[in-house]
Symmetry: C2
Subunit: 289 residues, 2 copies
């Protein structure tokens, strides 16, 4: 089965069925998790594990955990008190469909689930306990105050403010960068990387992640609601700092290409085992939607 299919199957098998009590919550969790996401973070986990000679199957719990954390953050970011967005991946957002209380709780439950699946996967996992514990710590740190949640706060605080290049990069590095970086790291850790390999894949994750975010900002300026599946131009409307806003579109494109080239160079020592990760980085940065 293809990697993406494996992740879908794994997420489906791990989650409570839609009818599991309380049914509203199970439905809300599945609604957001199976909304046609790109599964970028799981692909990074699997690709990193593969690059260092680890097994894809043993990396699946970590891959699923990252998608759960990412999905929970989208649900909460879309809430009326945050970005107040009613459209996500082409469908009404969770709070529009289920109400605010259930949307908040579905996000909360997904965060718990992520750590449950990482610590105690439903099928046997041959990754030693030490490494899995380290994966839990990496994911938790990347999600918390000094990572994703901290970045969302910086982002909210920057609305309507004039933001310079350094402040903008700090927002990106926390809000989306920390989790993407951690996905590359955790794949490497569960796959059994040595310290040098871990360091390379960390840099790869940082560069691919920042490139991805810059392209996101470019697409927000250039795209339409239909191609994006979310509200286009919303960053500019919200007065949010974005890379193309601060540096201009041409400079933003150039920076993304430079980051891709550097990320790819990190993979050279892995030879053919690094190929899936290289393709992934190209998709992340050269995408049109």
């Amino acid at each position: 089965m293809e990697r993406a299919g494996l992740v879908e199957e794994y997420l489906d098998r791990y989650l409570p069925p839609e009818s599991a009590p309380p049914a509203t919550l199970s439905r809300a969790v599945r609604y957001s998790l199976f909304a046609g996401g790109k599964r970028l973070r799981p692909a990074l986990v699997l690709g990193s594990a593969e690059a260092v000679g680890g097994s894809i199957e043993d990396a699946l719990p970590a891959a699923a955990a990252f998608e759960m954390i990412h999905t929970y953050s989208l649900i909460h970011d879309d809430l009326p008190s945050m970005d107040d967005d009613s459209l996500r991946r082409g469908r009404p957002t969770s709070h529009v469909v289920f109400g605010e209380a259930i949307a908040i709780l579905a996000g909360d439950a997904l965060q718990s689930h992520a750590f449950a699946v990482l610590a105690d996967p439903p099928s046997p996992c041959r990754v030693p306990a030490e490494r899995r514990l380290r994966a839990v710590a990496e994911l938790a740190r990347a999600a918390g105050v000094s990572g994703m949640v901290g970045g969302q706060v910086l982002d909210l605080e920057s609305e309507g403010q004039s933001v310079d290049a350094a402040a903008l990069e700090r927002i990106h590095r926390h809000k989306t960068g920390a989790l993407i970086r951690a996905a590359a790291r955790v794949g490497a850790i569960v796959g059994g990387a040595n310290e040098d390999e871990l360091e390379r894949l960390t840099r790869f994750g940082e560069e691919a992640g920042l490139g991805f975010q810059i392209v996101d900002d470019i697409l927000d300026v250039e795209g339409s609601d239909e191609t994006l599946g979310k509200s286009a131009g919303k960053d500019a409307k919200a007065g949010k700092a974005t890379y193309p806003l601060v540096h201009g579109i041409g400079e933003a494109r150039k920076k993304a290409e430079e980051l891709l080239a550097s990320a790819l160079s990190r993979l050279e020592p892995f030879g053919p085992a690094g190929r899936p990760l290289a393709l992934l980085a190209e998709q992340m940065i050269r995408r049109r939607s």
Copy 2:
């Protein structure tokens, strides 16, 4: 130092200082965590570890993690879209002070932090990786769909509905019971319990937890805002099912005493090592506020 003091010190040392960026988030996290909570769940973790001959010091990360999960759930439960409460432990709730967005994110960050401290405590921890991984899984399950978050959904759905005794017990068992039960279990696990000890402390946690909740409901009926430090009578106002409402106050008191007696009997084989846990159960169920 006393147990409670150890937990306070540990929480303080582990959390980012109030000035750590983003400062609003760090302040909000500390505001709710240091609001004079009873530290019941940490005390259960430490007491259980001690009962089975484990070290208190090695159980501190787990104790702190439970308090973080509990505090995050209070912040989210108080939100306008949930219980809409403006008073908690005698102080304005998080969203009143910091706004809804920051309150949601402070809760989210506290959940992440709980798993970070459990998986990678700031000071050396002699508990083997296998046990700590099991603790992560126990905490995550107790917090998620089939535990605390599921219980909050059941509770919200029961508002204004007529709720029978079985439905009421199901709400309690999930919403508050799951985390209290898990605190007793995780203390036992990190303390090195055998299966028989773990089973006894699980029952202890279930009984003490249900007794605690029943007393909570009694105090909500009888108490005032001043003695409770939160809005009294709010359950009845919200049309919420509570134990005294369904069974009457006299029956509720009797049930709480029966649960206490049964919980205490579970501790007998532990001898003097079980004494702190016995005192704790008495405090939980015979309290006046």
